[in-house]
């Protein structure tokens, strides 16, 4: 019998025998508990499998989402400068590069007069010094 197989160790005290469930009660209780327990354990197993897979697939899904977002952005704005090629151009340029054209290609060019930095001649400098005295 189940109880004889399972109740190991100290024997059940005889004086407590009336508190013990009868066989029918014991079987009914065991069946009721195990019916619920088995369905709970099955559901738990499925949940665990699903959560394990979602943990594996989540980074992949995130990567795919970012990649498709970038592609969609590029498809929507064909004139947009390509980020990586700007970096490559600037990094590989031998001469100093005017970053303004890369970073803000549509910006209005500043007035040429304000930034005309032609080196003054030696005569002009001397003349200016004499005048200032």
């Amino acid at each position: 019998m189940m109880r004889d197989q399972e109740r190991e160790g100290r024997s059940w005290p005889e004086w407590l025998e009336p508190l013990r469930p009868d066989d029918m009660t014991r079987r009914r209780l065991h069946r009721a508990v195990m019916e619920t327990a088995e369905s709970m354990l099955r559901a738990r197993t499925w949940t665990e499998v699903a959560s394990r897979w979602s943990a594996v697939l989540a980074p992949l899904a995130a990567g795919l989402a970012v990649a498709s977002g970038v592609l969609a952005y590029r498809a929507a704005t064909p004139d947009a400068p390509a980020g990586p090629s700007v970096v490559a151009d600037v990094a590989s340029a031998v001469a100093p590069v005017d970053l303004g054209t890369y970073l803000a290609p549509d910006a209005e060019a500043p007035p040429a007069l304000l930034i005309d930095v032609v080196e003054p001649s030696r005569e002009a400098v001397l003349t200016a010094a004499l005048v200032s005295r």
């Binding site: 189940m2 100290r10 005290p13 004086w15 469930p21 195990m34 327990a37 709970m40 197993t45």
Partner: protein, 201 residues
């Protein structure tokens, strides 16, 4: 079968009653618990079978009604399964399960006190002979009555040792008393029970 009063020194020698068998009984429990945590229903079935009788007796001693005791035991086993993930590796199922069972019984008793429905007689639920059922109920009530007459510390010792299967070292640890005190409480509790049950026969 007559319910004999407990012998005063039955099963508790000076060398520490139950410590050997108890250790054996709990030895495979961490493995069973781990298997259940992995989703093994057969292992849980073994734990349920192992704790069914003492769980029912504990529930009966608290609720004093077989119908409620059955409800409580069933609910406690389900609650325990829901929370079995909380058990640390290497833990035994029993002591933790009895805590779940006690709290389930107390919750049920609170609810039942509010509802106060009459006990369903055993004869109405079982197919057995009504006279035998009546006799069984009489004996059961006598034991429950006798247990309730014991002082708290003696009742706890008897319940924990005889019903729940703790050994004295475990009782001492749970109740924060000396092992010798646990032995003395059990001894006096059993003596008192013997007297009460003997007097009432």
């Amino acid at each position: 079968m007559a319910s004999k009063p407990p012998a005063s020194s039955e099963g508790e020698s000076a060398s520490g009653a139950g410590s050997g068998p108890e250790t054996d009984r709990g030895a495979d429990e961490p493995g069973l618990v781990e298997a259940v945590q992995q989703g093994d229903a057969d292992s849980y079935s073994r734990l349920v079978a192992r704790y069914m009788d003492p769980a029912y007796a504990v529930a009966l001693s608290i609720l004093r009604n077989p119908h409620d005791a059955e409800d409580a035991v069933q609910a406690a086993f389900i609650r325990a399964l829901e929370r079995i993930g909380q058990l640390r590796p290497g833990s035994r199922f029993g002591p933790w399960f009895y805590r779940v069972l006690r709290s389930t019984c107390l919750n049920l008793r609170r609810r039942e006190m509010l509802r106060a429905h009459p006990e369903v007689p055993d004869s109405a639920r079982a197919d057995d002979d009504p006279h035998r059922e009546l006799e069984k109920k009489r004996k059961r009530d006598r034991i429950l009555e006798a247990l309730s007459e014991l002082p708290e510390r003696q009742r706890t010792a008897v319940m924990m040792y005889d019903l729940e299967g703790y050994d004295h070292a475990e009782i001492a640890q749970v109740l924060e008393i000396a092992v010798g005190t646990s032995r003395a409480n059990l001894h006096h509790g059993r003596q008192a029970l013997r007297k009460i049950l003997g007097d009432s026969e």
